[in-house]
């Protein structure tokens, strides 16, 4: 996943806060996924309002040293359709 891409949470996904982070449920695929930290929750829910993934990571306060781990997790969420590329800046 490119740091400069523009992404958003899928409109079919609901997020439910939990003590360890959050549950994300995709109503279309019926997939339940666990976001295992508060930062991850902030990144995912923040994507839509940020121009890029980089901005969402920074805004959620994720230290740069952890970005690669977060990118991997975002990749997995993208594979499962939990987050989607945003049309407005799709080419970025």
């Amino acid at each position: 996943m490119l740091l400069d891409g523009a992404w958003t949470m899928s409109p079919s996904v609901s997020i439910r806060p939990e003590p360890f982070g959050a549950l994300a449920y995709h109503f279309g695929t019926r997939r339940l996924t666990f976001l295992k930290s508060r930062e991850m929750v902030s990144v995912v829910t923040g994507l839509a309002a940020c121009a890029t993934v980089r901005e969402a990571l920074a805004k959620a306060g994720v230290p740069q040293t952890q970005w690669s781990v977060f990118l991997q997790a975002l990749e997995a969420l993208a594979d499962g359709g939990m987050i989607e590329r945003r049309a407005d800046l799709a080419a970025a």
Partner: protein
């Protein structure tokens, strides 16, 4: 025996930070992820192993308005879907209304049925809705094996429902099978049957709950069948749903996919037809009763504040099991199975594959707790060890929504 209430609660351990999901689940979630809601005790069948001893409607069953209020609350709590069962839920006159009500309130529905009301027309309606999953119960891959347990004609009824669903274009129905001594040799046949109907196979464990207690001794798979099942799951179990049914088989060596944890009161619970909330659909008994949805605060308050649930939301003591090398994946097995076979909750599962529960099961005077409720239409068979012989089912056949609380649930990779 040790009960959940007897456990020391003086120092309630607090939730660890980080750690595995199973560890997090041990401490419970803010709302269930596997909520079973039995809408009615009424049923057109009379399966001999029915976990909820269904048959007759209970006059106190929740009204349409009360059910809607429960759904509103589930929506507010973000319970993303419910597993609806019974009895036979589709014979409630307001079933289709409640289904639409739930779906339009962001509460997806998976419902279990014996197929009685899945007409071509209903099948088309179901195919046109999003967020609805249908699970047809079948306990034999052939009519003779199935009908012995579920009653005359029930095999044909289920197959007709599956055919109607696939003809209507309903994708991916589930065929839900309770694995018994009689059908464990038919696993390949079940798989083929599911494939033929474009359906997914779901296998669940026979638990000694409800009328299941009456037949458990003679119907639960033998020790060698447990191994057959375990090997089959390892070999062919990919794309077969099992939920939390078989984690006790981890004692054979390898842990199986699915959730390896008793989720009762932590991520699992049951709302019964009269609104009573229990820790698990297989644990309908006073001892696991947490409250009622009609009390002030409704379901949300029960889930959050019940003392029983608070008690269950901590690592449980596991007695002899802790010394077992397979404890990490088996965790002593199923609480309900222990309880309803009269075994201590902090010891091995009655089907412990290492054989550690055998002495206790053979003990004379093992007391089997009386059922919490009984809505059977005819007299139940006496509980307790029965001779190893399959008696023909007594009384009219009925359904069992063989609910496994976590069937269908997969833990995604982090």
């Amino acid at each position: 025996m040790t009960t959940v209430h007897d456990r020391p609660t003086a120092s309630v351990p607090s939730r660890p930070r980080g750690g595995s999901l199973v560890q997090q689940f041990e401490y419970g979630l803010d709302a269930p992820i596997c909520l079973t809601w039995e809408l009615t005790y009424a049923c057109n069948l009379a399966c001999i192993h029915c976990l909820s001893s269904s048959g007759k409607r209970d006059p106190r069953e929740l009204s349409t308005e009360q059910c809607e209020a429960v759904i509103d609350q589930l929506q507010a709590m973000q319970v993303f879907y419910v597993n609806i069962g019974g009895g036979e839920p589709t014979i409630r006159p307001d079933f289709w209304h409640l289904l639409e009500y739930a779906v339009s309130h962001q509460v997806g529905v998976k419902f279990s049925t014996n197929g009685v009301r899945i007409t071509p027309e209903r099948a088309r309606f179901l195919a046109s809705t999003d967020y609805v999953d249908v699970q047809v119960s079948l306990d034999g891959a052939t009519a003779d094996v199935n009908d012995r347990v579920r009653g005359e004609g029930s095999f044909d009824m289920a197959i007709r429902a599956l055919e109607n669903l696939s003809a209507a274009g309903f994708a991916d129905a589930k065929i839900s099978v309770v694995v018994t001594r009689e059908n464990v040799d038919q696993l390949d046949l079940f798989k083929a049957l599911a494939d033929r109907h474009g359906a997914t196979l779901r296998l669940t464990r026979l638990r000694p709950s409800g009328r299941g207690a009456d037949v458990w001794d003679e119907l639960h798979p033998t020790a060698s069948q447990q191994r057959t099942l375990y090997e089959w799951l390892l070999r062919a179990g990919e794309n077969v749903l099992t939920g939390d049914s078989f984690f006790h088989l981890a004692g054979f060596g390898e842990s199986l996919p699915g959730l390896n944890l008793c989720g009762a009161g932590r991520v699992v619970c049951l709302i019964d037809p009269v609104g009573d909330v229990y820790a698990c659909p297989f644990a309908i008994h006073d001892q696991f009763h947490a409250g009622n949805v009609l009390s002030p605060g409704g379901f949300g308050a029960v889930w959050k504040d019940s003392e029983l649930f608070a008690d269950l939301r901590s690592p449980q003591t596991s007695g002899a099991c802790t010394k077992c090398e397979f404890f990490d994946s088996c965790r002593g097995g199923c609480m309900a199975a222990k309880f309803f076979t009269g075994l201590p909750l902090d010891g091995p599962d009655p089907e412990c594959v290492q054989g550690y529960s055998e002495p206790a099961l053979l003990q004379i005077g093992r007391t089997i707790p009386a059922a919490g409720q009984d809505h059977s239409r005819s007299a139940r068979r006496p509980t307790g060890p029965t001779p190893l012989e399959i008696a023909p089912p007594s009384g009219p056949p009925v359904h069992a929504c063989a609910e496994s609380p976590l069937a269908g649930f997969t833990v995604p990779r982090p």
